[in-house]
């Protein structure tokens, strides 16, 4: 499977991905139109539950797209493995920025060459490729993050402080601890305006622009260290080092899971000598790199050019102590997320109160927080580490643990990045895709028919089989009625040993698998015709005939394979294909009646599927073929749950007719070599006739190909003899044609052999006027608002707002005025 084969098309009608076509210039961003900055707010001092908290447990909040931005699910168990790494990072240092990265960036893996891209170098590195940027160079495909557990995100708590309530510059930055250090004991009163922001733990920062990493040579410092601990599959092999294929042309950092001893927090050595904390993930450069960061002297907030991604935030504008502001910043194709809030430190009675308040607000976000300058160890390893509590209901509480006590919290578990034990049994367990939603298909095993054997074989092998049986019949014609022959073949005609033939339009042994790996049915490649029906009896029943065993041997050296089916384990052949279902709008427009979807399943037909069932999920089809009768059953699955089935026909039965003319003729026994040759010529013509007859009935080849193979073989053997015949002789042969060879005929139903070989998901989506995308709704919200239907205080909302059922308590307005207020609120106001 090529990853691009599952790629979603763009916004143009009927646009679709064509396998094999380069995706180098395809810009997935077109589909997302992420060309605007977006800002959200989160209240302070409030528990964040599964509907809100984007870090820990977000499921369906409006900021969901930050945590799980798009629907493509990165299935850690299936999509990533060391053998077929499909995801690896792209790093464009010119556009990188800090914040919380929200995409996996998946470039084309044409690999190598001028782009310095070598996907071999990524081999073995699992899901853990995270980049904060969408490279202009490699943004072929942007795989959004889904089911990525941000709760394990480690960030450093940084304080911007100033005495200027409206400052957008002249702001100093320091760590949380340093702000409260004894030497700075007066800062609470002298620099009372406090901005809180996070930076990715361990990553360097630009002293002038704390929200932006310094660009430049990736080996010169300012490297990204995205440290997460959650839900990433560890490397299945040891990290690569420079001696086993790491390509120094590739300048990316990438995240890998490093198994090893405790990380000393200070340095990560060269490849092959790295430290990792029990499966913690680090982004590593291609050279040795020391964890460090630059603390800015006289740091300033957002003094860069206008297009700088760093948000410019006046320190105080009457909004202090009220909310976190979340900025989703877009700049030059890059996008990242920032959290900030502003506090007035002077309103707190003392430093302890302020300190506790800040930690509490951070704890509400449920992340790992580091409060000192330079982390010295794994999360929880020293007293500068804090972890916000998430209770059993998935709600952050504002409580936190510090240092070693963080281990008391369920969400501190990270020894095994994929250890979901802390989530087991919870409805919001992001790793449990099964949870009563796994279907098990029961099948039968054992030989479906007694006194027979079944073989799957290629077309060439079948033609050789027919040839051999017929040749045997001709050459041992004197023995055809011999008891040995009957015992051997169950019939006086060896060809009648073939009970039935079912033709499949594709190789059901190999490659019947949407994941690109071979599925080999239980069986044995017997490698020789002599095992078939013990047909080597041909040798023993005619000891007086000059028969060479090789004459009756099928040559398996050229595109001929025969598999004897072993029914011990199963009667069926399996195949699986999966397609991610992409919910474009992330809203009601993705569902019926606005959006409809059909799933087309080759050989079985199509079925309408309900988008609601599949949004953000995977559409899976499990095929089961019964090889002995050609029937197929397709199980349509949502993730692992079967929701529908279709049945169809993949194999078509081919009938074999026998005229047994050789036995009917007494003269057969007197046939001399010349007559035999004539018979063979006749047979050849019959074979050709068969080609014509069948060829007209079968679309795309089919049985004609089989007979063609037979005819071709005969041609090779008897062309000389045919050429020696006179025209009269040839005419006589046609007029008196006998059919010593079996004739394959159409058994009907050949149209079932014509189908696309791909499972196809077809989705009809509405288009809006003007064209909106899931994260760019233009001015619609500003002018109309979005359908909300929530109950709450108006103060919890902003911008255009419409209300109903207003409770006008505590307003000393007249009745007439209250009616005016109600009317206004119903009509829409700007809060």
């Amino acid at each position: 499977m090529q990853i691009n084969e599952q790629f979603w098309g763009g916004s143009e009608q009927s646009k679709q991905w064509v396998p094999g076509v380069s995706i180098t210039n395809y810009n997935m961003l077109d589909a997302f139109n992420q060309t605007e900055d977006v800002t959200w707010t989160l209240p302070l001092n409030e528990e964040l539950d599964t509907s809100i908290c984007p870090w820990a447990i977000n499921k369906d909040a409006d900021i969901l797209k930050l945590a799980y931005p798009i629907s493509y699910r990165i299935d850690p168990d299936n999509s990533y493995n060391s053998a077929t790494p499909k995801f690896y990072p792209v790093h464009d240092y010119e556009s990188e920025m800090s914040g919380i990265p929200i995409y996996f960036v998946v470039p084309s893996y044409a690999g190598g060459g001028a782009n310095g891209f070598n996907w071999y170098a990524r081999n073995g590195n699992a899901i853990a490729y995270i980049q904060p940027t969408i490279s202009t160079k490699y943004r072929d495909m942007v795989y959004p993050v889904r089911d990525f557990d941000y709760s394990k995100l480690c960030v450093s708590l940084t304080i911007a402080h100033t005495d200027n309530t409206t400052a957008t510059d002249s702001v100093s930055y320091t760590s949380f601890d340093n702000y409260f250090a004894a030497a700075n004991a007066t800062w609470r009163t002298t620099n009372p305006v406090v901005g809180l922001c996070f930076r990715i733990y361990g990553r360097g920062w630009d002293s002038k622009n704390p929200d932006r990493w310094q660009g430049g040579n990736p080996t010169s410092g300012h490297q990204m260290l995205m440290n997460t601990m959650g839900r990433k599959k560890p490397c299945e092999i040891a990290p690569l080092d420079a001696t086993v294929g790491y390509n120094n042309d590739f300048k990316d950092d990438f995240m890998t899971i490093v198994n090893g001893g405790a990380w000393n927090g200070l340095a990560i050595g060269a490849w092959g000598n790295r430290y990792g904390g029990n499966g913690a993930a680090y982004v590593l450069s291609d050279s040795g790199w020391a964890l460090s960061y630059e603390q800015g002297a006289a740091a300033e907030l957002a003094v860069s050019a206008d297009d700088h991604p760093c948000p410019k935030v006046p320190m105080l504008e009457g909004e202090e102590n009220t909310h976190w502001t979340i900025y989703s910043k877009y700049s030059g194709g890059s996008k990242a997320v920032y959290f900030k809030t502003i506090l007035d430190a002077s309103t707190f009675a003392n430093e302890d109160e302020l300190k506790a308040y800040i930690l509490k607000q951070a704890a509400y976000l449920g992340m790992w927080i580091y409060t000192n300058d330079t982390p010295t160890g794994d999360p929880g390893s020293d007293e500068h580490w804090y972890l916000g509590e998430i209770d059993e209901n998935g709600v952050t509480t504002g409580n936190y643990r510090q240092g070693a006590a963080t281990s008391e919290l369920q969400n501190s578990e990270w020894q095994n990045p994929w250890d979901s034990s802390g989530w087991k049994g919870r409805d919001d367990d992001p790793t449990d895709y099964d949870k009563d939603q796994t279907s098990v298909i029961t099948t039968a095993s054992g030989d479906p028919a007694y006194n027979s054997k079944e073989y799957l074989m290629t077309e060439n092998a079948l033609s050789q089989l027919i040839r051999v049986l017929n040749e045997f019949k001709l050459n041992v014609s004197g023995e055809l009625s011999d008891d040995y022959v009957v015992k051997a073949f169950g019939d006086t005609d060896p060809v009648n040993a073939i009970i039935s033939v079912i033709k499949y339009p594709f190789d059901i042994i190999h490659n019947f698998n949407g994941n690109g790996t071979d599925v080999v049915i239980p069986g044995t490649n017997i490698g020789s015709f002599f095992s078939i029906a013990n047909a080597s009896i041909a040798v023993s029943v005619s000891p007086t005939l000059p028969v060479s065993p090789t004459l009756y041997t099928i040559d398996l050296t050229s595109n001929s394979e025969i598999y004897e089916i072993d029914w011990t384990n199963t009667n069926f052949v399996y195949g699986t294909a999966k397609i991610p279902y992409y919910d474009k709008f992330k809203c009601f427009l993705d569902y019926e009646p606005y959006c409809t979807a059909n799933l087309y399943i080759p050989f079985c037909g199509s079925v309408k599927i309900d988008p609601e069932l599949f949004c953000g999920r995977e559409v899976g089809v499990d095929y089961i073929i019964s090889p002995v009768d050609g029937t197929a059953k397709a199980f349509i699955k949502r993730d692992k749950l079967i929701i529908d089935t279709l049945t169809g026909n993949i194999g078509t039965k081919i009938e074999i007719n026998s005229t047994d003319d050789l036995l009917k003729s007494n003269n057969v026994q007197q046939l001399n070599a010349t007559i035999q040759a004539q018979k063979m010529n006749t047979a050849k013509k019959w074979a050709n006739v068969a080609i014509g007859a069948v060829g007209g009935a079968v679309v795309g080849g089919g049985v004609g190909g089989v007979v063609g193979g037979i005819a071709s073989t005969i041609n090779a053997a008897f062309d000389t003899a045919q050429n020696n015949l006179s025209i009269e002789q040839k005419q006589m042969e046609i007029d008196n044609a006998e059919t010593p060879f079996k004739q394959l005929q159409s058994g009907g139903g050949y149209l079932s052999q014509c189908d696309e070989y791909a499972i196809r998901l077809v989705i009809y989506r509405p288009e809006t006027l003007p064209t909106y995308t899931f994260d760019n709704w233009g001015d619609y919200g500003k002018t109309r608002g979005f359908a909300t239907y929530e109950t709450g205080k108006l103060s919890n909302y902003s911008g255009y707002t419409e209300c109903s059922n207003v409770i006008l308590d505590n307003i000393s307005a007249t009745e007439q005025e209250k009616q005016l207020i109600i009317q206004a609120l119903q009509s829409g106001v700007f809060v």
Binding site: S452, Y789, T791
Partner: protein
């Protein structure tokens, strides 16, 4: 009656309007019947006051939109207004509990059907995604044969 005249460029539907005072508070005379909802006042003429489109009557404690302004003989201005309940009671309104039917701050459409969202009646996007499950298209045959009762001895 003490009146402060303002100019206001904000949308009338905004709760927290930004208003700019025109001079200081002045004294105005109410007409005989001066409604609190739609007051009518007589001001002394001053050309700067003609820019006023918003005013506040401190005696009433209410803000008003200017609905009419007539310059009268004798250096007077006949000013009529209509109460702006939104700004007057902004704080109270913001603390009200209500069913928020539509909100900009939600940020994007939700799962709730929004019939106001304009759907292009003539256009529908077709997206397809496919997954090949067969890559080897060579025909294959299942051949069932009789099982022989004679064994081959090499």
């Amino acid at each position: 009656m003490t009146v402060t005249l303002y100019t206001c460029t904000d949308d009338p539907r905004k709760l927290d309007k930004t208003i700019t005072a025109i001079g200081t508070a002045i004294t105005a005379e109410p007409t005989d019947d001066c409604s609190v909802i739609t007051p009518r006042l007589i001001l002394t003429y001053d050309s700067s006051r003609l820019a006023c489109n918003y005013f506040y009557i401190s005696d009433f404690g209410r803000y008003y939109f200017v609905t009419g302004m007539t310059v009268m003989p004798g250096g007077l201005i006949d000013l009529t207004g209509k109460i702006d309940v939104l700004k007057t009671y902004a704080d109270g309104i913001k603390n009200c509990t209500a069913v928020i039917t539509r909100s900009e701050s939600i940020g994007q459409p939700t799962q709730i059907i929004d019939k106001m969202l304009p759907i292009d009646p003539n256009k529908k996007e077709l997206l397809t995604s496919k997954k090949d499950f067969v890559t080897n298209h060579n025909n294959m045959y299942l051949v069932r044969v009789r099982e022989s009762s004679v064994k081959y001895n090499r």
